[in-house]
Amino acid sequence: MNVEKRFEIVRTFVAVTISLLIGFAIILFASDEPLSTLYYFIISPSTKMRYLGNVVELAIPLIFSGLATSILFQTGLFNLGSEGVFYFSGLLASIIGIKFSLSFIFHPILAILIGSLFGMIVMLLIGFFKAKWNASELVISLMFNSIFFGIGAYILNFYFRDPNVSGVYSFKMNESVFLNKIIPGTRIHTGLIIALLTVFLVYLFLYRTRWGYEIRMTGLNKRFGKYTGMNTTKVILIASILAGAIAGMGGAVEIIGMYDRFKWSALPGLGFDGALIAMLAKNKPKNVIFAALFLAYIRIGADLMARMTDIPSEMVYILQAIIILFISGKKFLEGYKEKSLLKEVKNNE
């Protein structure tokens, strides 16, 4: 392993450690029983099969959003539209679940396809605006999130809301749309297999095809891409469509894998989490799995902590922000990097 690579790993590790330490400090400061709070946050998710199941269940949508965001970030697109896509594709999947009744495997496939298709269209639009007119994909994608949330909430409330339950929930979906549970004692569903398969396919695409190569090169250096005759517009559009398909798939899989009705009364936040996962994973597909598991673990830890103690689970968002700040700091720990480079040079002499 070269110095550069090792350095990246050390840096990621240090960034995560700093944020966890800040988390501990917050707990020590704010909690009446800091030790048991720490226990719930860090240890308890691994104490029960059910909790570990929760971690994997939560990692499934995070893998999709992390993968989608890595593709976008890798192309140099700061597009956070996965959030709105997750929400709306989830809603579309639930509508397919409510309105249709198909023989077993075709029903979930249709729901996921429709979710993906929606994601592709949305991201293609944002990518098109960027490629053609250089319109800020960050601001437009964030505005799109709010717009799709508004439209989705309207559709849910006026057309699919079940008046017989309290809360704004949709009607029950037909059982044929649900993804099967695959591990007894947990709610882990076939979405896990779809997620892992998607990771593998994205890996093949990025590292074994010409388009994938162009996506990676564009992200590294836009001018290099242009000089070597790549069509940046095409690359942006391909990356956007792919990311949209994956985000849309994620929203659909989450709804038909974990819910019996559509229950999101706000944007679920899963799409935004993709940003942290992409950064932790350095945009590498297989790392996305581990980054998603890590985030899912501390999320479940925070949920358990919030349930058992006086510290709210939102603490995790503070830690997430700190990790992003440090990991993306190009000069963070640079002194250390230079030292290890020097050492390497000396060793080679």
Binding site: F78, N134, S136, M143, S146, I318, Q320, I324, L325, K331
Partner: protein, 306 residues
Amino acid sequence: MNSFFDTIFTSDFVFSTIRVTTPILFAALGALISNKAGSPNIGLEGIMLMSALGGVVFSAYTGSAFIGLLGAVLVGLISASILAYFTLKLKTDVILGGIAINFFADGGTIFLLYYLTGDKGTSSSLPSKVLPNIDLPIIQNIPVLGDIISGHNILTYVAIILIIGVWYLLNKTATGLRIKSVGENEDAAKSVGVNIMKVRYLAMALSGVFAGLGGAFLSMGYVSWFSRGMSAGRGWIALAAEAMGRGTVLGTTLSSILFGAADALSNTLQLLGIPSELISIIPYLATVIGLLIYAINNTKKRKLKE
């Protein structure tokens, strides 16, 4: 349709537009200053949110609206300085740094709110203060005009004064010239001895102060409490307004008013019985359309030049 125009062409609507433009304008002016220095502040949305909570907390615990305002501004200043430290010193990507600040604000405000009040939604249990509304002497008695420009929150007038203030800063002061020189040509500025880092820090800090004022308006003027996510995209809308304003004070102000009007429209339409979910998207839709028109024009101009 008649009732639609009846609601638009009223002094109430214009008054309401000025009111809801205030936070967008503050943030957009902040964005303008930091962009001029070549160090965009993408964290405005989150900084406004943190300042909104800061204002409520400081005013509730001191019993003084003025200290609350100072607190909000201080929160804005500090969080923008932290962001500046990361983007300028540690070379964190400007956009990722901004995204991180926004995530931090989303979670951090809820965390602190819950810690202080046991509530994750609003600060209604905190006895926070509001900044006063001002009736302008003489002007308030002029028909129509008085209804429109008198009786606003004091921060609205501060915002109006700051439009001129920012114009003066950027065009008539040495600091303003330095800010612009750093943004336009870093190397040239360096060669004549301008401390680039210092100027950018200053510009970021100023943009934080402006976002702080915007946040204070939200929780101590627009309404009298803090609620989660209350900046509701205004920081992003402000970035769009600054872009559409083509980096000028006048342009930024006008596009802020345009987005403010869209916001006011969504408030007014609610009264006409159109589903609130659909109305809520109007400001965001307006921002997308505005940004696209701006971007398309920009592309055309660039092509003409080539």
